[in-house]
């Protein structure tokens, strides 16, 4: 797998994402790229040679101070104990944060995105709220959304919320990589709602051929009843004290999304544990 991209705004949630990235990078034996964007109308790359020229107004002075402080923040982050165990690179850019982060995600340089999300409330920083959701929906690589403190044990008990469809092989591939790296147990779960009600015997049969087709090992099969799919995933995760949730999202947008709802985004907003999503309708 290619490196992990960890966009950071140096917030508490972003730091939790760095924690998570650290364990992932270490166990998957891949690099970590810390990425920060300073919001600015103009896109200036000062990464190499310090401040870029142009003007001498108060704005520029403030901007230079901001850059300096950002560098300090990044240096501080890079000095986090433990990070020396993995291969870390960092980058600071100016411009439109969500645009640049999307570009970076799509650059084909990274195999995975790990980011902090703060949930539905609040929109103080660029990486939280709806932008995180947009990334979840649009990213061509898996996205792990982190809200709270994460350690290695989070990756040892993984829930895979599945629709038991055969278009999920890409998710399964990543799931297997995680499983090998962390010696994890995978808990397959299908949420049974009144709208997609299925008998247990039918679901069990489906699950059996599903795990056989995908060659899963060290797993449990589960069915959980709830009126709302995302609630069911969260409640099930609570019940079995799972450390992480993995699911495929079909990248629904706009009108269809409003009507049918995309479970993945709701789970990201309400689950305390890390949630890994992969859009399989890229």
């Amino acid at each position: 797998m290619k490196s992990i991209l960890c966009p950071t705004d140096f917030s508490e949630q972003a730091n939790h994402a760095v924690e998570a990235s650290f364990y992932l990078a270490k166990k998957l034996k891949i690099g970590l790229h810390l990425y920060h964007v300073i919001e600015s109308a103009s896109e200036v790359d000062f990464n190499v040679g310090g401040a870029s020229g142009g003007g001498s107004s108060m704005d520029d002075i403030f901007f230079l101070k901001l850059i300096e402080r950002t560098r300090q923040n990044m240096d501080q982050l890079l000095a986090t104990p433990g990070l020396e165990e993995i291969e870390v690179t960092s980058e600071i850019k100016t411009g439109n944060p969500s645009k640049l982060i999307f570009e970076e995600i799509r650059s084909d340089k990274h195999g995975m995105v790990v980011m902090g999300t703060k949930g539905a409330s609040g929109f103080q920083e660029i990486l939280i709220g709806s932008n995180a959701e947009k990334i979840v929906r649009m990213s061509p690589v898996p996205v792990i959304s982190v809200k709270e403190f994460v350690d290695e044990s989070n990756f040892k008990n993984i829930i895979y919320a599945t629709g038991l469809k055969d278009d999920e092989h890409e998710v399964i591939g990543i799931l297997k990589e995680l499983q090998v790296a962390f010696d994890a147990k995978i808990h397959l779960v299908r949420i049974n709602t009144p709208n997609n009600f299925q008998t247990d015997w039918a679901t069990k049969q489906q699950m059996e051929s599903y795990v056989k087709d995908f060659g899963l090992e060290n797993y449990t099969c589960n069915i959980f009843n709830d009126p709302i799919e995302e609630d069911g995933i969260i409640l099930f995760a609570e019940e079995i004290k799972a450390g992480m949730i993995v699911m495929a999202t079909h990248g629904r947008t706009g009108f269809a999304h409003l009507l049918s709802g995309s479970i993945a985004e709701d789970v990201v907003n309400h689950a305390k544990r890390p949630v890994m999503t992969l859009n399989i309708n890229k």
Partner: protein, 280 residues
């Protein structure tokens, strides 16, 4: 366990019931009471209303049949007592259902074991089976079986309920059943579209229910299916249960016609032995 009542018509199914009663009697020291009801042929019953009185030829035939049945019953009883089991035997004449109901009023009987063929289709719709009627009227638990059952291999009992109410007599009987076989009880709630409940509610309720009723050696499960009856049977299939246990409300008359009774449907359509207790 004091007395086990086994109605017999000398069929293979009845023999299975006797075999089970014999095994339980050996375990518990209970008396086995064999009852056969000789049913008058329908035609004979009608001729009694005629001016000419009972047909003498048919009367003779009936007497012969009764003698033969007596002999058969005595043979069954002898086999049991040779095995060291206390046996009582009784031959009755008339309507099996009415006569069995009288037997069932006997306070001494604390278990009924019946062989069942399992009616289905038209027969069930028109007349029902005697087994299901007995299930409905017995004051004690009834075990009905369609296949031979070996007591020592009986380890897994499925008990299906909604876990909303607790009938003390039913629970006491269920615990007695469990300890008699030293089995695990698998409590199951069947979740259907019509009574859909989130697991977060139902599981909590089930947990409280088993805790409040002080059960030990059990598992809890919620099983989704189209109908409750299907769910019970499918779940029993999944865990390869040895026995199904159900509490019944035994609706009768019109209620039965319109709503059906879950226990009776399960009795008729499952191939596993079924233990039922009528909650009155």
């Amino acid at each position: 366990m004091k007395k086990i009542l086994v109605p017999t018509d000398f069929s293979d199914q009845a023999q299975m019931a006797i075999d089970l009663a014999s095994q339980i009697a050996k375990k518990t020291g209970a008396t086995v009471k064999l009852v056969h009801v000789y049913e008058y042929p329908v035609a004979t019953a009608y001729t009694t209303l005629d001016v000419g009185g009972p047909d003498p030829i048919e009367g003779e035939l009936a007497r012969e049949m009764v003698d033969q049945n007596k002999k058969q019953l005595a043979e069954e009883a002898k086999k049991l007592s040779e095995d060291g089991i206390n046996v009582e035997q009784e031959l009755k004449m008339g309507n099996p259902f009415i006569n069995l109901s009288e037997e069932l009023k006997d306070e001494g009987v604390d278990l009924v074991i019946m062989g069942s063929k399992g009616a289905s289709g038209l027969e069930e719709a028109l007349i029902g089976s005697n087994t299901e009627k007995v299930v409905r009227y017995a004051k004690c638990p009834v075990i009905s079986l369609k296949q031979p059952l070996i007591v020592d291999t009986l380890k897994n009992i499925v008990f299906a309920a909604n876990f909303k109410e607790s009938d003390e007599k039913l629970l006491a009987a269920l615990k007695k059943l469990q300890s008699m076989f030293g089995a695990t009880i698998h409590f199951v709630r069947i979740n259907t579209l019509n009574n859909f409940e989130p697991d977060s509610f139902a599981k909590k309720r089930m947990k409280n229910w088993v805790r409040n009723n002080k059960f030990e050696d059990f598992t809890l499960r919620i099983y989704n299916d189209v109908e409750e009856e299907d769910g019970i049977n499918h779940y029993a299939e999944e865990i390869n249960a040895d026995l199904l246990a159900l509490g019944t409300h035994g609706r009768t008359g019109l209620g039965r016609l319109f709503s059906g009774s879950l226990a009776e449907d399960v009795v008729n359509h499952s191939n596993r032995p079924i233990w039922t207790y009528h909650m009155g």
